[in-house]
Symmetry: C2
Subunit: 350 residues, 2 copies
DNA sequence: ATGAAAGCGCTAACAT
DNA sequence: ATGTTAGCGCTTTCAT
């Protein structure tokens, strides 16, 4: 029933500064180190003093300033996570896994979206390092200068790279088996009779997009299907960017009977482009997404495992933070083909 | 071409501790404060010394320890964000908006998902406060004890609550107009001829679920439709939880011809439950979601504006951090009804 | 068992 | 213009 009124004269918030250990020590009439001992659960302190300290702590609403503590002990118990964008479900799942893993280790997460902006990425990484995070998990922007990453690693901040490798840097990575996964997806279409297969991916500079395109070609090669550049289109995924090129492809004399999309953003965009079409090409998308199974037909995908990737990255990072100085470790996570209908549509014979 | 080998003896990472200003001062043969001045862009320092310091900084790979700085200046330039779960698109959009807003203010984001666990929520809030975040944006777990929140606010950490108000605490809130929004959605169904309308929501303890259920009743009342508890079901949204109750409802003698769902998780679950059904009731969902427009029929929703909520919460928090001690401010964001087909299905007349 | 004192890396008077 | 010093809040020897 201690309903303090938070907006009366002087206001409870913005009140006097928070109590410090010194204040507690003074009130409890003990030495500073005794307070520290009590706060840290050091048992060699008399019951009487312990009680006095506890009482003072309660009275003053004391809560230890962990920033100060961390300055002294030299570890911030926090790690930084720089992803492309939280609103992309791939990254939000990855983030959640990292969150859970680090929380178990009493480590907090500084997280941020780079939004594919190399300047923003750089700024974030550098600010995290300035805050002396214990380590960093980074999805590098594909177009960026990576010199500063090497510098910060050399300076002592462990980093593991996730989803994409950093340019020209030897470091721990956690990636999806992009190339083989894409090949599997395309082979699935081929197995269902397709020989004219379009490939729609994210911008070619994107490492994952390039890898998946390579996988697409691998599958074609394996089936002795000629690679036709007219069936390939790469751009930042959006309905606007994809509408015309895709329509053009399908208006070719010898149009594709199936399409393979290189990531969930692309798949979703393509689905929108094709919304309302009477006949649709078969479709296999790379990366799963919510409601893929609720569409008609369900969307066949090559599923990635973002949560596992986040967890693997966190594991490796904590290994480094723990002092592991072994050689860079490269983890590749496999993919799972999930047939749901769209990938099993036979080629329309005309 | 300075490819340092990161895994040779001694290893570049985990090397000697990072250089400090003292080290820089020593190497540049200047005083500590001169280094500080240079680092902070204080211009009243000679060109010669400036150059010497800059040189030393480069040589040592010095980067200011912001934690130490912050301890001294008394502000961490970071805020905490406790949401329910990043993997919920509602919250990831909210998060992204907060991210952007605080980045503009040179403030970093400590973020975490409470996963509806009151203990985890409490732990996160307290740890954030111990780190002395400049402020906190919190989606309170609905079942939780809120005493500690009041205590931390009183101790000087400003907080704004988003999506749900904290129990028994007067503080800044940013909420959706849940009740009126739900009423609008249900009225839309009524306008399309429905009089038997089911309501499927999240657990009743959830503030938003309760409000939206109230809005549902408001709409029925306004249309003089009797409230039938048989048409209402509340539980943590999942296909398993919803399948049987919903099937039972639709098997009633006088079954519902439409259903209103209380949040995006519920809508998605219901869509899965109904997947493959030949005839489907009309559907209006609260909160928009990706691909709502790509389904057949498109799903009519009462859209919330999570990004705007995040931004509004961040704005208010920074106002408080800036020293605003005015009375608690309650912001309600309106909703947008988006007809896409599912909500315009007429009642099946039999 | 307890306290005094040094110091983590920085900033901000205060001298000069 | 530059250096010296105190101190942010804590932990951690080191005495006692």
């Amino acid at each position: 029933m201690t309903r303090t009124s938070p907006h009366t004269a002087g206001s409870a918030s913005r009140g006097q500064p928070r109590a410090t250990m010194k204040d507690v020590a003074a009130l409890a009439k003990v030495g500073l180190s005794t307070v520290s001992r009590v706060v840290n659960g050091d048992n060699r302190v008399s019951d009487a003093k312990t009680a006095a300290v506890l009482q003072a702590i309660r009275e003053l609403g004391f809560r230890r300033n962990d920033s100060a503590r961390q300055l002294r002990v030299g570890a911030t118990q926090s790690i930084g996570l720089v992803i492309e964008n939280v609103i992309d479900p791939f990254f939000s799942h990855l983030t959640h896994a990292v969150e859970n893993y680090s929380l178990e280790r009493n480590t907090l997460l500084l997280s941020a979206s780079s939004t594919r902006d190399p300047e923003r990425t750089r700024r974030l990484v550098l600010e995290f390092c300035a805050r002396r995070v214990d380590g960093l998990i980074v999805t590098p922007a594909d177009t960026e200068e990576t010199g500063y990453l090497q510098a910060e690693m050399d300076a002592g901040t462990p980093m593991v790279f996730v989803d994409r490798p950093p340019r020209g840097i030897e470091a721990d990575t956690v990636l999806t088996g992009d190339r083989s996964g894409a090949a599997r997806g395309v082979a699935h279409l081929i197995r269902h009779g397709h020989r004219r297969i379009a490939c729609v991916t994210d911008r070619g500079q994107l490492h994952t997009a390039a890898q998946r395109l390579a996988g697409y070609r691998d599958a074609l090669d394996a089936a002795a299907i000629r690679y036709d550049p007219e069936l390939v289109y790469s751009a930042t995924p959006s309905v606007e960017n994809f509408r015309t090129p895709v329509a053009r492809m399908l208006a070719l004399d010898n149009p594709p009977t199936a399409v393979f999309t290189g990531n969930n953003r692309s798949t979703v965009a393509i689905l929108r482009v094709m919304a309302g079409w009477d006949t649709r090409p078969a479709l296999v998308g790379f990366d799963d997404f919510e409601l893929a199974d609720a569409l008609h037909p369900g969307v066949t995908v090559v599923a990635q495992h973002p949560a596992e990737m986040g967890r693997a990255a966190a594991e490796q990072l904590f290994r480094r933070i723990g002092g592991d100085t072994g050689p860079p470790r490269h983890t590749i996570l496999g993919t799972t083909l999930i047939p749901r209908g769209s990938g099993e549509i036979p080629p329309s014979r005309k």
